[in-house]
């Protein structure tokens, strides 16, 4: 979070940040692995912080390992833990870990990183061994943090639901949950979706991560429409580490290695597969073949830092880590214990070719530290970020938005190493991590800012504002790229686009939705009375009037699915004018997806003091002529009054 505030254009002098007072009246509930507050200034209460909101009824539990009176303050206002489900699910299969703490204390690092990303206090001179150095501050610097530890080695659904239950009871305003199942579940079987439904019904914004199973199609999880589902993308910062071969070829990799650099003298280079283990597993590399050399390792099976550690154990001098082909232009940055550079799949293939064609291959690595700049353009969609369309409900476009989630520096727990290796004795106050786990709390923090700046907005209105003001072009003026393909990303990767907090504060129009709308949506899915009762006990869908199609949910994005008969699809929306001027006229501008004729009725929306909402219908009709070979095509609809631009993505599945 040393660079993300400026990347998000959050300024202390103008825009959403001062307009919201940094969200000092907002409590963000973070459901994760707990928090490690000791010595972490991100969780210190600034003296200028007013008392926490009185409506918050939560607090911190004290245990021998978590001194609530020492750790909790005006910033960290809540800390509780839930473990019964974890023990029940894993009974007999796993002992309680030695380093685990039966308390809200974070012994993993993940929860501390997430919580400080959402709402950490400002801290000067934060860095990971000099990497990413700067002033670290959460997205909502004055918001309060209430931690609900439900994740240990995994997060049992019953513990997660308990965390939701407690967070609602405590009176949090925003819930941030960077977790999910491997596959999307039907909503009545998805306890996170059930818990979030009840939270949203009580006015709580629930931001969740889209998942890290990309770049495959339909890998997105947390797809219920009441979630604010967040994808992950890059910022304008890299940690380059060049791999220089004996023939002069140079490949730009990435690394957070912080030890003694390699010299200019090139060292022998060997492929792990020729030395006992192509994936560089500990104990399988032949020390006589590896000692003093740089080892090229294939991706997969064991962790990235484990590969470097395995090379170290075998006496190697360094390692080059290849990446999966599907990851395309992305290599993953890690805090390695020896000189290691992670390179792309294509770079690793070229290095292998060099290895095969040279009698005495040699290489060295040059670590460049932190580089901030315009090249490559940013943001770019992370290859790992999970993608739509939603397998469960393809008519709801997911993920919703993207936010910074690649190589983000934030606070770290003091009981685990930055490499997450047991054999790594280093302890650091900050670590650099990637994932939709990391982008989710950025959006939670921004939602907190909006919650305070626009207290009258519902969770759906806040989501709408974030989606319709999101941007879709990168710093070079092109459509946000996708690191997995090297080409332009689609709304199935980036959703409505990259969040733009300042613009979200003044979206012009919002697509609002409340509990009744979500109930109508669930009815449209065909849920039985029993399934519905999990959400709303009194609902009888069969006698309910006005239950339309699934795609009629008042969502700020469009996803039309053409059946085999290729019939036109019409969806209806209602927009509310929340701009400064009650009298406003908005006109529609359509960018049609390939092969689709899009019509909007009416094409002009006129608002007045007495007519604050307007309806419109949008029809997607396959063109009679022309050949669409793609499975999905994309477009957008923009409503503009000349001052505001209210843009929604359109996805069509053929």
């Amino acid at each position: 979070t040393t660079l993300t505030p400026s990347f998000l254009r959050l300024s202390e002098s103008s825009g959403l940040l001062p307009a919201s007072g940094g969200a000092s009246d907002v409590v963000i509930g973070v459901i994760d692995t707990g928090v490690y507050p000791e010595g972490r200034k991100s969780f210190a209460a600034d003296r200028s912080l007013p008392p926490p909101p009185r409506r918050f009824r939560g607090g911190c539990v004290s245990t021998p390992e978590f001194n609530a009176s020492a750790y909790c303050n005006g910033k960290l206002v809540g800390a509780k833990f839930f473990r019964k489900g974890h023990d029940a699910v894993l009974r007999g299969r796993r002992e309680v870990g030695e380093t685990e703490s039966m308390s809200p204390l974070d012994t993993e690092g993940h929860g501390t990183h997430v919580a400080s990303t959402a709402a950490g206090s400002a801290v000067l001179d934060a860095s990971l061994y000099g990497y990413g150095e700067g002033r670290a501050v959460g997205a909502a610097p004055s918001a309060r943090i209430a931690v609900y530890k439900a994740c240990w080695k995994g997060c049992a659904s019953s513990d997660v639901l308990a965390a939701f239950d407690q967070a609602i009871a405590d009176g949090v305003d925003v819930i941030s949950a960077s977790l999910g199942t491997m596959k999307a579940r039907k909503f009545y079987k998805d306890t996170t979706a059930v818990g979030a439904f009840h939270a949203v019904s009580k006015g709580i914004v629930v931001a969740v991560s889209a998942g890290n199973s990309g770049p495959g199609e339909s890998t997105v999880v947390n797809v219920a429409p009441w979630f604010l589902t967040v994808a992950a993308s890059t910022i304008n910062r890299q940690f380059p580490a060049d791999v220089v071969l004996g023939n002069g070829e140079t490949f730009i990799g990435t690394s957070l290695y912080a030890g003694k650099p390699l010299g200019a003298t090139k060292l022998p280079l060997v492929y792990g597969g020729d030395a006992g283990s192509n994936i560089c597993e500990a104990g399988k590399l032949n020390p006589t073949m590896v000692a003093g050399k740089i080892v090229l390792c294939d991706p997969g099976v064991n962790g990235r830092t484990e590969k470097g550690f395995a090379v170290k154990l075998a006496g190697g001098a360094g390692a080059v880590l290849g990446s999966d082909e599907a990851q395309g232009e992305q290599a993953r940055t890690s805090a390695h214990v020896i000189p290691v550079s992670a390179v792309t799949f294509s770079a690793a293939e070229k290095i292998k070719k060099y290895l095969r064609t040279q009698a005495s291959p040699v290489a060295t690595m040059v670590f460049h530290g932190t580089v901030v700049g315009r090249s490559p353009p940013s943001p770019r969609m992370a290859s790992f970020s999970s993608r739509g369309p939603s397998r469960l409900v393809p008519e709801i476009l997911k993920p919703d938005v993207t936010a910074p989630g690649v190589d983000i520096l934030a606070a770290w727990a003091g009981v685990t190493s930055p490499s997450l290796l047991d054999g790594d004795s280093r302890r650091v106050p900050y670590n650099i991590m990637s994932g939709t786990s990391i982008s989710c709390p950025q959006v939670s923090g921004i939602a907190a800012l909006l919650r305070q700046a626009r207290p009258e907005w519902s969770p759906a209105a806040i989501k709408s504002a974030l989606m319709t003001t999101a941007y879709n072009v990168d710093s070079a003026g092109a459509v946000i790229g996708d690191m997995s393909t090297g080409k332009a990303s689609t709304p199935f990767a980036r959703g409505a686009g990259h969040v733009d907090p300042n613009r979200a504060a003044d979206p012009g129009l919002v697509y609002d939705a409340g509990t009744e709308d979500y109930i109508a949506f669930l009815c449209a899915l065909g849920y039985s009375a029993e399934q519905m009762a999990v959400f709303s006990p009194a609902t009888n869908c069969s006698t309910r009037a006005g239950t339309g199609a699934v795609g009629d949910l008042n969502y700020p994005a469009f996803s039309a699915v053409f059946g085999p008969e290729k019939r036109a699809v019409t969806q209806r929306r209602v927009v509310r004018n929340v701009g400064g001027n009650a009298r406003a006229t908005y006109r529609a501008k359509i960018t049609s997806p390939a092969g689709v004729h899009v019509t909007v009725k009416p094409q002009k929306l006129q608002f007045s003091a007495t007519q604050g909402t307007q309806e419109y219908a949008i029809t997607f009709a396959p063109r009679m002529f022309g050949n669409v070979t793609e499975k999905h095509t994309f477009g957008s609809i923009e409503w503009s009054d000349g001052e505001h631009s209210v843009t929604s993505p359109i996805a069509v599945t053929w």
């Binding site: 659904s157 308990a162 491997m182």
Partner: protein
């Protein structure tokens, strides 16, 4: 038999209860396990109560219901009860 072992295996479940049949929870909320322990006793015949079901949490805000350690047979019995809306096996989610 393998089937008997399967049905007697104890696992964690989340049980969604029809609000009209849900016991009133005291202020302790989540930690108040007694009301749903009584609920279970009323719906699982005594001969099926070994091993004894154990309530882990009582939900009153994020859901109406409870989490409990049950055998597959007990879970199936509960699922067939009119006051129970759904019985969902607990599972591990992953951090992202």
């Amino acid at each position: 038999t393998a089937e008997e072992i399967q049905t007697e295996r104890v696992s964690s479940y989340i049980v969604h209860v029809a609000p009209a049949h849900a016991p009133r929870l005291p202020r302790r909320g989540l930690l108040a396990t007694r009301p749903y322990a009584a609920f279970l006793l009323n719906r699982i015949p005594l001969e099926m109560c070994r091993p004894a079901p154990r309530v882990l949490y009582s939900y009153g805000h994020a859901a109406t219901g409870f989490a409990a350690r049950l055998t597959a047979r007990q879970a199936a019995r509960l699922a067939s009860s009119g006051s129970v809306l759904a019985v969902v096996p607990d599972e591990l989610q992953e951090l992202h």
